[in-house]
């Protein structure tokens, strides 16, 4: 069991990282037993495979010109799937933009995500996901929202936690520091998850900060913090579960630096070969979260890898049908762009709307 004593052994100031399994899926902590049942672990693996397949398909749809810019999740899925297992219906999920598996676990439909990345705001409605904020494009701004939510929950006496996500680059934003400070001085129930994938678009971590690691930034604000191997599903699950309990019991925030690697591009408009080496990519391929969890399951005789192919084929069908659902969604109306700011549309906006309508009539776009 991960407890306060374990937390104490992995001090950010000592630059320690909590890890349960090695690159071959072998447990490296003596006497460690998972706090999940075998079938739950198998389900986690399947969820991870689903996220990876959906992500792969999303990039493919984008390359086919059927979707706009998309940020791939490849390599970071263990963080998302572990989050999905830990976050409860009463908890809030405050996303950045690269947590696909966690969103799905919260109840977001895949077609909504596709719709969003097709440029349709209705994709942010998240019809079946309770207590989740929309994707936040301005980096780190969502952390302040999470602190506000935490403060509100505390005020209302709710027993729930806000899980807020940010990337390594986001820790250089003022919002990150404001959020940590307020979270600490107000004692609010927020778990901050920093997905340190080593690149803020093309800026490598060593150019991003002079800090020893990112978890140590939490220490300065007196926020309990720990660095975790983000490609290790069990390590992430242990720490996230502990963090949730800790936050509820102590009424204090918690920060997790999940050390991972963005195996794909920052977004479909980015070409990582321009700023990193093949050697580095190969090195991280060995730490791939899917492969590690699979090796663990195989060693425990819980999984037959020949199942993967069948599952992927099945997932692809499901994902395709979700995408077709997004494609069939009614198009945006021009009225929606203009009609909600003013009760009576000002002349200048009337002129713009009229001009745009003429333009659309000409190019044969949406009406």
């Amino acid at each position: 069991m991960f407890n306060l004593k374990t937390l104490d052994k992995f001090k950010p100031i000592d630059d320690k990282t909590y890890q349960v399994i090695d690159n071959d899926g072998k447990v490296i902590i003596k006497d460690w037993i998972p706090d999940l049942k075998d079938e739950e672990i198998v389900q986690a693996y399947k969820d991870l495979l689903f996220e990876r397949t959906a992500d792969f398909m999303a990039v493919s749809y984008q390359r086919q010109g059927r979707m706009f810019t998309y940020p791939p999740n490849l390599g970071q899925e263990a963080i998302h799937i572990a989050s999905g297992k830990v976050i409860q219906p009463e908890d809030w999920l405050v996303p950045a933009f690269r947590e696909l598996g966690a969103w799905l676990a919260k109840g977001v439909s895949l077609w909504e995500i596709f719709l969003y990345f097709k440029g349709h705001e209705d994709g942010s409605k998240f019809l079946n996901a309770k207590r989740m904020l929309p994707i936040s494009v301005p980096i780190a701004s969502q952390l302040l929202h999470a602190v506000g939510i935490g403060y509100a929950m505390k005020y209302q006496g709710e027993k729930a936690v806000a899980f807020a996500y940010v990337g390594d680059g986001g820790t250089s934003e003022g919002d990150f520091h404001e959020a940590l400070n307020f979270a600490a001085v107000w004692d609010v129930p927020v778990v901050f998850v920093v997905q340190n994938n080593r690149f803020a678009i093309s800026v490598p971590l060593k150019m991003q900060t002079r800090s020893l690691n990112l978890a140590v930034k939490g220490v300065a604000y007196d926020v309990k913090s720990i660095a975790v191997d983000g490609n290790d599903f069990f390590a992430m699950h242990d720490v996230l579960s502990f963090a949730r309990e800790f936050v509820l019991k102590e009424n204090k925030p918690f920060l997790i630096e999940a050390k991972t690697y963005r195996q794909g591009a920052h977004t479909t408009s980015d070409d990582p070969t321009r700023y990193r080496t093949k050697d580095e990519e190969d090195e991280w391929a060995l730490k791939d979260p899917l492969k590690r969890l699979q090796s663990y399951l195989i060693s425990k005789k819980l999984w037959d890898p020949s199942e993967d192919e069948k599952l992927i084929a099945q997932y692809k069908k499901k994902i395709d049908s979700e995408f077709e659902k997004a494609e069939a969604y009614p198009e945006y109306k021009l009225d929606d762009v203009f009609d909600y700011m003013y009760e009576n549309l000002p002349d200048e906006l009337k002129r713009q709307k009229n001009n745009y309508q003429n333009y659309l009539n000409h190019v044969g776009g949406v009406k």
């Binding site: 493919s60 390359r63 086919q64 479909t268 408009s269 070409d271 333009y359 009539n361 000409h362």
Partner: protein, 435 residues
């Protein structure tokens, strides 16, 4: 039915991409999600997967060719859909295909795009209209009383070049005129087709190679300079025996330290000193505002010949650096240029340019100004020649130089005075020490 798969905008506002590799052949059967082609764009090199399953019935474009967003890449025969729909889509193909062929041969863009009909024009404004009617014959082909869709940079460029933006046909969405459209626009009465075929037809033994990005940039910059600056050139010779001795000595001394000393740092120093006394050569014209911008900083571009084409890295603040410091920096720059490691930062903010064509060959030249700078200094081939000294013919070390300036801002007298100063330093380099 036939499905036309068009090259999608896979970036954010992408206009074109280059075909690197085809993965499919005509007649091949494919599933949706299979890779069709590898494309290189401004942003990424990536595989483009097929959105449909079926059989490839046609493939457009060969490796190395540039494809515009919206052009058809492949036709896919999808089973199960026949009849009118297939017919109408097929006829669209024919139209598309013929358009593509026109583009491939490098015809002018004028008149080939149907999209930019009159409906794309917004209400009138004076913007983009020509001041002087130099291309009035072209202007007659389209009404100019309406405002065409165009990017701001395209508008500015058209204005600079004296083109009426309204007569340029745009290839962007809704017929929007882009920078590229302005660049490829050629005002002319002669039909573009006839022009393109005049000296390059398939009957001749020719090879058509797409221009590299660097070649395109060079071509653009050179045209811009010749379009805008009024070039005037002057040539001279200077006896540099003292400089030859001084450099030979230093070269030997620094050889062991791995620093190679050429004549260039001496020339840069001489120019930096002289520019301070002749500031109109270190300036720029702002025609629009009617101003001359004098620059109190001295960043000298050095034209470097590489296998891929000419690049001009810039040595910054040369007036604050010693000859040795300049030499070290030049070594670093030429290494970077050779390894293709120069960044945009290495090449920007130049105020004056030097070309040392003589290191390859040639005594005199008429260099093209690195616009919007106003002067370029060329160093010819250093050679031993008979010269007259104290009424006797002796052997001298002669450096020929050629300079071009923009006569709009620099007059002949000023160039001569500037050159006199530069050459006096090169003739007698000790002088540079005391200044």
């Amino acid at each position: 039915m036939k499905y036309m798969f068009k090259f999608p905008d896979i970036g954010e506002g992408l206009e074109e991409g280059k075909i690197l590799e085809w993965y499919v052949e005509k007649g091949q059967s494919i599933s949706s999600g299979d890779s069709l082609v590898k494309m290189e764009t401004d942003k990424v090199v990536t595989d483009i997967p097929s959105p449909k399953s079926g059989i490839i019935s046609a493939r457009y474009g060969s490796v190395g060719e540039t494809v515009h967003v919206g052009n058809v890449l492949v036709e896919i025969d999808i089973e199960g859909i026949v009849g009118e729909e297939a017919q109408s889509i097929a006829s669209e193909t024919v139209q598309k295909t013929s358009f593509e062929q026109v583009e491939e041969k490098g015809f002018g863009v004028v008149g080939t795009m149907e999209v930019a009909g009159d409906g794309a024009f917004l209400p009138a404004s004076g913007e983009g209209k020509m001041e002087n009617k130099t291309v009035s014959e072209a202007a007659a082909t389209k009404p100019t009383g309406r405002k065409v869709l165009a990017t701001p940079v395209a508008r500015a460029m058209a204005k600079d070049l004296g083109f009426d933006i309204n007569i340029i046909t745009g290839t962007g969405p809704g017929g929007r005129v882009s920078k590229k459209d302005v660049e490829s626009f050629r005002p002319s009465k002669v039909p573009a087709q006839a022009k393109a075929l005049s000296n390059a037809t398939p009957e001749h033994d020719i090879e058509i190679v797409p221009m590299s990005q660097i070649r395109k940039t060079i071509a653009k910059n050179m045209s811009r300079s010749k379009h805008n600056a009024v070039h005037m050139s002057v040539m001279d010779e200077v006896e540099v025996s003292d400089l030859v001795d001084m450099r030979a000595k230093l070269k030997l001394e620094y050889h062991d330290k791995g620093i190679s000393i050429s004549y260039l740092p001496f020339v840069i120093k001489a120019i930096a000193l002289s520019l301070k006394h002749h500031r109109s050569l270190n300036a720029e014209i702002d025609v629009e505002a009617g101003n001359i911008i004098y620059k109190n900083y001295y960043n000298i571009g050095v034209a470097v010949d590489t296998e891929n084409g000419l690049v001009v890295p810039v040595v910054k603040d040369v007036d604050k650096k010693s000859i040795l410091e300049l030499a070290i920096e030049l070594n670093a720059i030429s290494e970077k240029a050779r390894d293709r490691k120069l960044t945009l930062d290495d090449m920007k903010d130049g105020t004056f340019t030097i070309t040392s064509y003589g290191s390859i060959g040639g005594y005199f030249a008429v260099p093209v100004i690195n616009y919007p700078q106003v002067a370029i200094f060329g160093i010819g081939k250093l050679a031993q020649k008979p010269i007259v000294q104290n009424n006797e013919i002796v052997i001298g070390n002669v450096m020929p130089i050629s300079m071009s300036v923009d006569h709009r801002i620099v007059d002949g007298g000023e160039v001569a005075r500037f050159l006199n100063e530069v050459l006096s330093y090169l003739h007698d380099p000790i002088k540079m020490l005391i200044l």
